[in-house]
Symmetry: C2
Subunit: 328 residues, 2 copies
Amino acid sequence: MKRALPVTSRDIARFLGVSQSMVSRAFDPAGKVSPANRARIMEAAEKLGYRPNAIARSLSTRRSGIVAIVMGGMENPFYSEVLDKLAAALDLAGFRSLLFRAPPGQDVDGQLPALRQYNVDALIVASASISSRIAEEWRRDSRRIVLFNRTISDADVPSVSCDNFGGARDVANMLADRGHRRVAYVAGPRQTSTNREREAGFLAGLMGAGSSLVGRVDTASYSFAEGFRAAEAAIATKPDAIFFANDILALGGMDYLRGTAGLSIPRDVSVVGFDDIAMAAWPSYLLTTVRQPLDRMVELTIASLERDSATKEMNNIPIEIVLRNTIS
Amino acid sequence: MKRALPVTSRDIARFLGVSQSMVSRAFDPAGKVSPANRARIMEAAEKLGYRPNAIARSLSTRRSGIVAIVMGGMENPFYSEVLDKLAAALDLAGFRSLLFRAPPGQDVDGQLPALRQYNVDALIVASASISSRIAEEWRRDSRRIVLFNRTISDADVPSVSCDNFGGARDVANMLADRGHRRVAYVAGPRQTSTNREREAGFLAGLMGAGSSLVGRVDTASYSFAEGFRAAEAAIATKPDAIFFANDILALGGMDYLRGTAGLSIPRDVSVVGFDDIAMAAWPSYLLTTVRQPLDRMVELTIASLERDSATKEMNNIPIEIVLRNTIS
C-alpha cells in the first residue's frame, strides 16, 4: 500500500529512536550533530523516502537560504554578466537566487513587503535604487542587504562599487596626456549613482589637466540605441575624443560614428567606455575602456552578506584602464 | 512596549472575532472570502502590523507561486534575452522567479530534490536537459514543468520550441536560390537538441536543392570564441556561404573572416546565423539570420504552466528569415 502522507522528521525520529530536533539539525548544514548520527539519519531518510522541506525548515531556523537579486532589464549586457557571476557565487556559497525585476532607475521600496513574504534572508540590489529609510528598516528586521554597483549617500548600508570617480578621472588624464584637449561626454541616466560619480570624476580630471568639455549629451538609458543616438549630438561639437559613461553606450556610439558618419576611429575621433563588458573585446570594436573588477566586487558582496558587515575596501575598489584600439 | 513576537493570523482572528482560516483565505488571492470581510481583515492587519508569510501560506495551500528557471551561464546572449523576457512575463502572471544554474549541456536531474525543498510550483528548463523519467516523476508530484527551446523525444513533457528544422531547411533553400552551391556548416554542441534539429533541417534542405556540404566544423559551446575559432576551419573548405548553428557563433565567425582572414562579407563569403539576438542587428554586423519568435515562445510557456497542458502549437512555432547584409 502506498503511504497516504509524506514521511516527516517525526517518522525518522521514531524509526531511529532519536529526538525530532536532532533530525532537523542533521538537515541544517549549520546544525550541531555528530557525524555518526548525521550519517544514520541520512541513511534512514533515504530508506523511508523523507524529503526535508527547506521552506518549512526556514520557519524554525528563520533562515531560508534565499537571496533576492533585484535588478532591472538586461538591456545593458553588464548586468547579465553581473547576474551570471552573482548567481554562480551564491550557488557556491550555498544560497539560492530569487530574481526580482525592478524597472531600471526606479526604487525598490515597494517590493520589500513581497520579499519579506518569501522569507528572503538577504537582498542584493543592483541596477535599482532603494531609499535609506527602507534599507535601514530591512536591516533592523535582521535581514541583510548589499547594494551592488551603487551607493546611497545618507545611510549606513553596505555597498560594493568600484572607484567610478577615480576611473573617470584617470580617463580624463589619459586623454590629456595623449594630446586630446577638446573632449565630449555622453552621460548615463541622471538618476544613476554610476553616472554621477563618473561624470564628477571626469570633470575633475579635465579641470586638473586644463582640457575643455566641448560637449555633453544626456541619455535616457544605458543602451546601444541611446549611445548610437547620442553620438550624433556629441560629434557635432567637434571633439578630439568622446568619453561614454559606459560600454554599451560606447558600442552604439562607435557604430554611429563609423557607419552613419563615416568617420575613422581613432584617426578622426577617439572613443573610451567604462565597464569592460565582453563585447568591448570583440575584434569589431576593441574598445579602450575602464575595467570594473567584477570578480572582486562579487566576492566582496558575498562576504558582506555572510558577515552582515561593511568594510572600507568594499567601495572605491581600484580599477584599471584597458588600452585597445579606439584611442589615438 | 515593543511586542516581543510577531503578529500572527491568530491575533488578527481574535481581534476581529473571526476564524483563523478566514484570515488565511483573505491573504490568498484565490481564497474564498466576502469582499467586506477581506476589507475588515486587511484593515486589522494594517493596524496590528501583521505580515502574512507567503512561505508559511505555501505549506497549507501547497502553492508557493515560485517558478524555478533552470539555465546555464549566459555566454550565449540569447539566454539573457530569454531570462529577461521570462522573468518579466512571470512577474506579470503573478509568479516569482527562482534562478537555478545548471552547467550548459548537463542534465538537471540532480537538482530536483533541491527544487522540491524550496516548494517550487513549476519548472522552466532552458539551456539544460532533463531525463524523461525525472520529468515525469516531477509531474506525478503535481508540479508543473515546461522545457524551453528544447525537446525530449521519448516523453510526454510539455516543451516550447520554434521550428528549428524548418528554419534551417529554409536557410539551405535560400542559399541555393541565390546561387550558393558550396556550403559549410558550423555546428553547435552535439548534445543540444537545437543543433540536432537545425543540422538535420539544413542537410535535408541542401539535399533537396542539390547543394553540397563542403565542410562541417564542430564547436564545444555556443560562444563568440568558438565561432571565431571554427570559422578558420570552415573557410579552409572554400565555401560560398557558411551557416552557423546560432548567432553568437556567427558573430565570432564574422570577426575572424573580416578581421583575421581579411575577407569581405558577403562579397567573398556569405554568412547566416540563427536566433536574431540584439547584436545581430547592430550596424557592425547586420547579420542575416533566422528569427526565433521569442515573445510567442514565452507566452506559450506561461500559458502551459498555468494550465499544465501541452498543445500542438507549442512546438515548431513558425520562424522567419531576417535578411540583412551578410548574404549575397
